[in-house]
């Protein structure tokens, strides 16, 4: 679509984004603390964390807009501020509001074209790529959030950069827009570009990213491929029995180290509820039947990626609460 993927392999640093012991304090607030991770070309990397985790501050330090308190962030081995014609190396869209409302979409792009070093015809190309050709001569003030996201993306593509940094690009997109964004980002990564996408919801980018970098409260909590993160997911079963003692004895006998007692709204005197990890409901039911332990509830609970993400970022509800919202009785 744009230029060949070949230019991504011109030198060792090419397309590498490296964040090295990066910290930033705003007064007494430690927005980012000793954060290190690396992002490579040819892959889409999800930069994840709850709102206020320090994602945007990190990206702004990476892009030279915010000065780190300590540590460094480089693209192609250089700090952003030292890159000549940075828009040819890095395309970044930080928030959907960075437009003058009175400017048309095409004029917004034309403003930056001289600094990218491209003719105005390139503006029409990126408008076409992002599906904005029809809206090119409309003022941005009348754009929906989704259209602004597309225009932000179009701006990042002006210089055909090998590194793309997008802050919450799926915000405000409808399902169709998210599907479009997904295939678009995958396409850009296949061309050999480095694509770094932030989001506060893992499920939003789950089908898009190859790698994840997860932060919470300014610190790195997990960094791996999506496949490795997937391995952290597990199934679990919650069981309620009027014979609490019997149930715990059974659990300790059959699944030592994989069970825990949990609170349950249906639990009364003598009853007990346990949660057993990495097992299916049929196995638990059969074991209870064989051990003659009466069951009043048997529920499967899948700890999906989002749960893993929430737990990693310290947003997970307590086990007992989540068990109580299980529903589905086997």
């Amino acid at each position: 679509m744009i230029r060949s993927a070949g230019h991504a392999a011109t030198d060792d640093h090419s397309g590498m984004v490296v964040v090295d012991h990066l910290s930033k304090s705003f007064g007494a607030v430690h927005a980012v603390e000793d954060l290190s991770f690396a992002v490579g070309p040819g892959r889409v990397t999800g930069f994840l964390g709850p709102n206020g985790a320090g994602k945007t501050t990190t990206l702004r330090m990476l892009l030279g807009l915010v000065t780190p308190t300590s540590g460094s962030a480089t693209i192609d081995g250089r700090p952003y501020r030292e890159i000549a014609r940075p828009l040819r190396v890095v395309g970044a869209a930080l928030e959907a509001a960075s437009f003058h409302p009175g400017r048309t979409a095409r004029d917004h792009l034309r403003v930056y074209a001289p600094q990218v070093g491209v003719p105005d015809s390139r503006c029409d190309e990126v408008l076409a790529m992002t599906g904005l050709t029809e809206a090119a001569r409309r003022r941005v003030g009348g754009f929906s959030l989704g259209m602004r996201q597309r225009l932000g993306l179009a701006t990042t593509l002006l210089g055909d950069p090998r590194v793309l940094v997008l802050d919450e690009p799926a915000n405000g997109l409808d399902p169709e827009g998210i599907a479009w964004l997904r295939s678009f980002l995958r396409h850009l990564a296949r061309e050999g570009r480095t694509v770094l996408v932030s989001s506060h919801v893992l499920s939003e980018v789950q089908q898009t990213v190859d790698d994840v970098v997860i932060i919470a409260r300014g610190r790195l909590v997990h960094s791996s491929s999506l496949a490795e993160l997937d391995a952290l997911t597990e199934r679990a079963v919650t069981v309620l029995s009027p014979d609490g003692m019997g149930l715990r004895t059974l659990a300790e006998d059959r699944w030592p180290g994989r069970w825990e007692t949990v609170d349950h709204p249906g639990a009364g005197a003598g009853t007990g509820a346990v949660l057993v990890r990495d097992v299916d409901a049929a196995t638990v039911g059969a074991a209870a039947f064989a051990a003659r332990v009466e069951l009043h509830e048997l529920a499967t609970r899948t700890v999906d990626l989002e749960d893993v993400f929430l737990r990693l970022t310290g947003q997970a509800p307590a086990e007992g609460q989540s068990a109580s919202t299980m529903g589905a009785v086997a």
Binding site: G64, L87, E95, S98, H100, D107, V111, Y112, V116, T155
Partner: protein, 272 residues
């Protein structure tokens, strides 16, 4: 720097503000030039009306009358290029376009330099249009009242050209001011208050205090008028003006000092 400059010029020309303010200035200047030409010319023949402390009153010689009217742009209309210049910085913060601007050119001194330079053609445009408006309206009214509009006088032509220069420098001062005070609403209010009220009052008040009489000519408005070499204030004897070249140096000094303050405050901070 050339690329950053082209980018800045495109920023200005792709929004409506430049021509809205330009049209407003034309209306304002035409009104002032018409009224002032009419009132001075009307008083001139009599010359007997006693002015404040002078036997000759406010009556002006034809050349002084023409110069006073033709320099209304740098005397009172300069607020328009100043606001245009200030908006080129404060507007970026208001609409958060400062983020893509600094992504395109992370060297902040280059960004500020490009904005200051981009103020020159903008100020030139406002200067040419503003001065032509005062001359066109003023000369028409003077001629209609039987006064000589002095349009062929070399002093009038030189003064008109320097009035354009003053307006051009004013736009650059505006850029520096916008950099020093990035809040758009506050910047516009301060510009209007200072240029339309504070400085005129200061000039009259300080002019009355003997030990402070030398101060007003160093104020930015007086420095701008000094570039053109004439003004309503000097013609009416309220203040003296600096020599032209000194006025130019002083006004450019204001632009550079404000820009330096902006570089060390607004443009040194984190963009969050």
């Amino acid at each position: 720097m050339i690329a950053a400059l082209r980018s800045e010029l495109r920023k200005t020309m792709t929004t409506r503000m430049w021509w809205v303010l330009l049209l407003t200035m034309v209306v304002y200047m035409a009104f002032l030039a018409g009224v002032m030409a009419f009132s001075f010319a009307f008083e001139a023949p009599g010359a007997g009306a006693a002015g404040p402390g002078g036997e000759e009153g406010m009556a002006l010689a034809p050349l002084d009358l023409a110069l006073t009217v033709y320099t209304l742009a740098p005397t009172l209309g300069y607020v328009f290029p100043v606001i245009m210049g200030a908006l080129s910085v404060s507007g970026e913060f208001r609409h958060m376009t400062v983020t893509p601007t600094l992504l395109a050119e992370p060297r902040r001194t280059v960004v500020l330099g490009a904005k200051l330079l981009a103020g020159l053609p903008i100020g030139l445009l406002y200067g040419v249009v503003g001065t032509l408006t005062t001359i066109g309206t003023g000369a028409a009214v003077l001629a209609a009242l039987g006064e000589d509009p002095m349009l062929t006088d070399p002093e009038v032509l030189r003064t008109a050209a320097l009035a354009v220069l003053a307006m051009t420098v004013w736009a650059v001062v505006g850029v520096g001011f916008g950099a020093a005070l990035k809040n758009q609403v506050v910047a516009v209010v301060v510009v209007l208050a200072f240029t339309q009220l504070v400085e005129p009052v200061l000039r009259v008040a300080l002019g009355l205090v003997e030990s402070l009489q030398e101060v007003p000519k160093w104020l930015p408005g007086a420095a701008g008028e000094a570039i053109a070499g004439a003004s309503f204030y000097s013609a009416s004897g309220i203040n003296e003006l600096l020599p032209r070249w000194q006025g130019l140096v002083v006004l450019i000094g204001y632009a550079l000092v404000l820009a330096a303050v902006g570089r060390l405050t607004t443009l040194r901070r984190d963009i969050t």
